[in-house]
Amino acid sequence: MSLLEVRDLHVWFELPNGTELHAVQGVSFDLDHGERLGLVGESGCGKTTTILALMGLFPPSVSVAGEVIVNGENILGKGESLIRDYRWKELAMVFQGAMNALNPLMTVGRQIVEPMELHGIASGAAARKRAGELLEMVGIAASGADRYPHEFSGGMRQRASIAMGLACQPKILLADEPTTALDVMVQAQILELLVGLSNELGLALILVTHDLPVVAQVCERAAVMYAGKIIENGTTEDLYHRPRHPYTRLLFATTPDLYDDDDVISIPGVPPRLDRQIVGCPFQPRCDSAFERCSSEQPALKSLDVGHSAACHLNDVPVSVTAKPESSPRNGQALDAVDGSDDGS
């Protein structure tokens, strides 16, 4: 049994004009003990919303459906009251811009002790000692517990946020773009830390990011999200060498590589609006391999290989039968159409 099973997760946001934004549309994935999973996608694809759903961190204008099963129990079943027991103890989160999410008026040590006391894990001197240990574990001297966040650099604040996440010994750590605002050297340090913690503590990690190379280096598996859905799920090696969805392939092609001289492309067009019903495949307007079926029928996420699934009609059709691709530009000719507006995330 997996540590975490997400089944058919949906999240809707109420919009001020009365309609709903369907931000997460039936997301399902599994996470095993100690596994590192990447959740990849661009802005607006729903990846941050997905992990917020795992923690139940939503404002009142949101509705959620589906199952989030941790150790056999559906924590989404009874709403906020049940999730609170799991929050931070089983699942903890390191937020985007965590270095700016630290309370400037409390010492770092106090901020690590706080969740321990709130969840009844430890208190007083024992908690402070443990806070010191956690700081050491993330590479900060224990004496740093008495310092305030503004005395630390960005990288160290991120480490402190990770220590805070580990306070109640969770089994799953959700990291939302943990290195986005950091320099490449500091990023390497933080990623090394996360991998190390995952290996030593048996911590499962979900790494949310738009940065494919980071996922390739840190995670064994990854799920690629587009327009609120997971469109491909597999090992990072499969995703790079044997992608079974055009978006995955194109996404890798947009990322320049240090040593490769392949052309870097951009994907023309925009992601679809999530406040309207989408007919057919959500990626079809931008896809370079779309055919007739793609505009009328939404592809389901199907298992293609052991541990590799994708939601694309191309996987159903034998090569000889594929009809001529529709209008869309070919791979590499990305300049004629323009980059469109962002969705809200």
Binding site: V64, L76, G79, R273, A300, D343
Partner: protein, 315 residues
């Protein structure tokens, strides 16, 4: 194809500061009420010469006559109809209020912009002057002016104007300092734009809404100050303003005569107008501040929907 794709994208919600006044007021009913109150008083003030039932200076009833069908608000110590007095008084009080506000907005806005934009010694000098004015006790200052120059409506306008521009200058300066650091300002400066152009085309439009909100709120303060100064005898006692009406009432022992009607209606008029200005000003301020949506601090929680019986297509 690209056009279709364009239109297919979600248009982001419009920037709050650019919403027309209509939308602002629709979302803030209190602002609408405030605006209504202010307009009401402006109309009365403008139409006062026509609307007044009796003369505001000539006696038309008994001294301290209580409110009756003929004199809705009764009469004051000189037998003058209070309703007429309040109408005329409103006219002058509003005039003083708006004029003083205009003075303080122009000076305060100007100082704030110059100080915030140019910084360094301009900022230092202007802010020291502003600081000085901020700490002057308003009443003491008014007393001195009245003593030296003699009490008059014009002097009251000047005093209020001088006292009020300092807080405005500080607020505007803070906003200008922020706007100055915006990337688009740096960009046009790097293109060679002159300071005049930057202030006129980029800074002023950003600061104008704040100035408007501040103006409305300053009118409230100006009316209040006028009342106070008149009440303390610093205004020409022969002029008819809301403040002098109150002053006469107290001077002539209206309270011991039990003539509440010489104080209460006037007081209510003042309070109502100040409240109106406050409501409108605050509604504009709120509209400029887009971060006032309900966040997580709410007793309502996110909702769960059952998935029973629904396949992926049905949702």
């Amino acid at each position: 194809m690209s056009m279709l794709l364009q239109e297919a994208a979600v248009g982001p919600l419009p920037e709050v500061s650019r919403r027309p006044l209509r939308t602002v007021l629709r979302h803030h009913k209190s602002g609408l009420i405030g605006l209504g109150i202010i307009l009401f008083f402006i109309v009365i003030a403008l139409a006062a010469p026509v609307l007044m039932p009796y003369s505001p200076t000539v006696q038309s009833c008994a001294v301290f006559a209580p409110p009756s069908a003929k004199h809705w608000f009764g009469c004051d110590d000189g037998g003058i109809d209070l309703l007429s007095e309040i109408m005329l008084g409103g006219r002058i009080s509003l005039l003083i209020g708006f004029a003083a506000t205009l003075v303080s907005m122009v000076i305060g806005g100007g100082v704030g912009i110059l100080s915030g934009y140019f910084g360094r010694w301009v900022d230092i000098v202007l802010m020291r002057i502003t600081d000085y004015l901020l700490v002057i006790p308003p009443l003491a200052f008014a007393l001195v002016v009245a003593d030296v120059w003699g009490p008059s409506v014009v002097h009251v306008i000047i005093v209020i104007g001088i006292l009020q521009w300092a807080p405005t200058a500080r607020i505007i300066r803070a906003q200008v300092m922020t706007v100055k650091e915006r990337v688009y300002v740096k960009r046009v400066r790097a293109m060679g734009a002159s300071d005049t152009r930057i202030i006129a085309r980029h800074v002023l439009p950003q600061v104008a809404p704040l100035l408007v909100a501040n103006t409305v709120l300053t009118v409230a303060v100006a009316i209040y100050l006028e009342t106070t100064l008149a009440f303390l005898g610093l205004e020409d006692p022969s002029s008819v303003t809301w403040g002098t009406i109150l002053q006469h009432a107290f001077d002539r022992a209206a309270v011991s005569a039990g003539a509440w009607w010489t104080i209460v209606p006037d007081g209510i008029a003042i309070s109502l107008l100040i409240m109106g200005c406050f409501l409108l000003g605050r509604a504009i301020e709120d509209a400029l501040n887009p971060r006032l949506r309900v966040g997580h601090l709410s007793t309502r929680r996110w909702k769960l929907r059952p998935l029973v019986g629904l396949g992926p297509d049905a949702i």
